[in-house]
Subunit: 344 residues, 2 copies
């Protein structure tokens, strides 16, 4: 049997655990998995481009579990009332090859992106950060806010979006979140005095949402909006002033902010900072930048976390997606018998 | 909503359509899709090897549909009462990126492999073939027998397997199939007088199940057992006498029988034969060989066929695997509301 966790099942799981606790436990899982980076078989995601968008496969495995996420990015979807990004994940047992879990990953992708941002910021931001600037308050916004609140102790959020409705939505959703919310009239106003800046805009093409002169010393920039070839949101001059950390160089070189710096841009991988074999921040004045595009490892951690939690809580439903013939060589007899019974 | 077709749902579909009709309609779909080969974005399958086996992704897309199969191969599974191969498939809409179908593909892989064998044999075997030799009567055996009966008019099957129980199972399953079944004591006896030979054994490593001297002129060999690096079942000398047709050269060079011939072995792709831009059989005396490893296109055809049929017959169940927020930017509000309702 394969466990299915659909969106209502995930909602039940979140109701049990609480969204903030979920984000914080997931951040632990992601950090622990990044800490054992060499144990994973990794590859850049596999894209299928079309006129309207991209469909991608994000597979990864260690010696025990294989995971893959199928995810799309279709910028014109919201105009049709559809989401830009949707995703489904599968977890399979490496020892037998059998799939164990088919899981909604649209909401989970938002949760794991926020949890990963928090993991990176814990290692890169100056200690004692209290103010987060959110540039872009779209689908990812509230998840970021809660992850930074819970995992870093952020108390105030200065936010700006070119879409006023997205700002109204953001503020309404976080009304009861015990956060000081400061709506701003520009990017420059939003980042004034912020310890950490998250950029999560939907700009198309190479745009400098964050320009060089805006960002002062000591700030940590969490850049999550530039995530495919040709789509960036950070001024290259700012990049060259910052210590840049990425998830997986082989993938980020093509997709991340560093694509604007060419093939030899210096960048560290997150796992190196986590295990301590490279230094993240060199001092309080350093600008650090997490150039995040999303990596399969985060989906692996998420699927395993959700699978464990859902089984412990009895959430989800078991579906016979895999035949169980008494004799493994008699697949034909098995399916014919099932068909004959179905025909009665 | 995403449609889920599990094994019982597939059994209902097979009960409605009939296994032989299913095989023949599927063969049409596969042939039609091969005929529009240049319209597909193709890649060799993506393997993740482990100590016990391999887990592979088989993606493909045209301008309308994306499909991917997750499939494993674990030779030690039968000793644990598990199947060597299991599979799950997903079909997604290219225009929106939304997944539409999650489908059992263990049984479907056996059906599509047999249907593909029949498509190739229709183009490569001598007309009027009536006798099929089956070397290896494992999980694929009966599907092959019925596909060749239905699509090529095969009336007699000479069969051999090193495992007597597999032969007993094969004969019992086909008792009522209106086929003349001739159980043989060796490979040589089985292929004597056969027009078409299917090799579908589970031999490990490079073994010559079919040696050069065994095969006379005019025979079509349907070689489906050699399907991964280092696993072959045909004598290289026989290969060099035959006109070899493969599914997709970029994949078969590494996985198929032709891996034993080196990188420059002459081989045609099946689609060239189907559209008529290359000649398959040059005359009645020619030996032809379909070096089949299984290609993502066949899974694409299968998933689309099953999706169409299941929808027409109202089979399968719709599962909310994708969130449907009223405002695509308000994923947070959507999932929190679901969670709050679940908590009540």
């Amino acid at each position: 049997m394969v466990q299915i966790i659909d969106t209502p099942a995930l909602a039940r799981l979140l109701a049990h655990i609480g969204i903030e606790t979920f984000l914080s436990e997931l951040a632990e899982r992601i950090e622990n998995d990044y800490a054992r980076w060499p144990q994973f078989e990794k590859m850049p995601r596999v894209p299928f481009h079309s006129q309207d968008g991209v469909i991608e496969l994000m597979p990864i495995a260690d010696s025990e579990w294989f995971s893959v996420k199928l995810v799309n990015g279709h910028p014109a979807n919201p105009a049709k009332g559809l989401q830009t990004v949707t995703a489904v994940g599968i977890l399979a047992d490496v020892a037998t090859g059998y799939p164990r879990l088919v899981c909604e990953m649209t909401v989970l992708t938002a949760l794991r992106t926020a949890a990963t941002s928090a993991v990176a910021a814990r290692h890169l931001a100056n200690p004692g950060a209290t103010t987060l600037a959110m540039i872009g308050t779209g689908a990812q916004g509230e998840f970021q806010a809660l992850a930074f609140k819970r995992c870093l102790g952020i108390r105030a959020i200065r936010f700006y979006d070119t879409d006023v409705a997205a700002m109204v939505k953001f503020a309404a959703n976080l009304r009861t979140a015990s956060l000081q919310l400061i709506r701003c009239a520009s990017v420059a106003e939003a980042i004034a005095g912020a310890d950490i800046i998250t950029t999560a805009t939907a700009v198309r093409g190479a745009r400098a949402v964050l320009t060089d002169s805006m960002v002062g010393p000591g700030v940590h920039v969490n850049a999550i909006g530039g995530d495919c070839p040709g789509k960036t949101e950070i001024d290259p001059r700012l990049l060259s002033r910052a210590r840049i950390v990425v998830e997986y160089l082989a993938q980020t070189r093509c997709e991340g902010e560093i694509q604007s710096l060419g093939a030899r841009a210096p960048a560290l991988e997150l796992w190196e900072i986590i295990v301590g074999c490279s230094q993240g921040r060199s001092g309080r004045q350093q600008i650090t930048l997490f150039d995040s595009v999303g990596f399969a490892l985060e989906d692996y951690s998420t699927l395993r976390y959700v699978y464990d939690k859902a089984r412990a809580l009895g959430i989800g439903h078991a579906v016979p997606l895999i035949p169980q013939p008494r004799d493994p060589k008699d697949l034909f007899g098995y399916i014919r018998e099932l068909a004959e019974r179905a025909a009665v």
